[in-house]
Symmetry: C2
Subunit: 64 residues, 2 copies
């Protein structure tokens, strides 16, 4: 399933996938695939994304 919460938080910060990717030290494709729900990212990467977007794990990666 797509991660719409992540995409929304990224757009709220006015960042492109590529900019977010650079901030957290991964490739643009990795961010794109996480937003599309086609990847199972590592905890470290999730935390890095959260900190860049000023969110917590529950905010962006917890379902239900």
């Amino acid at each position: 399933m797509k991660n719409l919460k992540l995409k929304t938080a990224r757009v709220e910060k006015d960042l492109s996938q590529e900019e977010l990717a650079k901030h957290v030290g991964v490739s643009r494709q990795t961010i794109g695939l996480i937003e599309l729900g086609k990847y199972n990212p590592s905890l470290k990467l999730c935390v890095a994304i959260c900190k860049t977007l000023s969110k917590t794990l529950d905010d962006l990666f917890w379902e239900e």
Copy 2:
């Protein structure tokens, strides 16, 4: 760094590393290494552990 919150939550539920591992479908070693802070687990595994232990991602995997 060790994940003491995870270990504490597991012991609170009276589960051994092996029992938790079976519940979430990984090996005992994987659970042990996560508790020791020597692994960077996948988001899916983190969520499975949280649900088994009745916790959220922020409860067990968010620092500071």
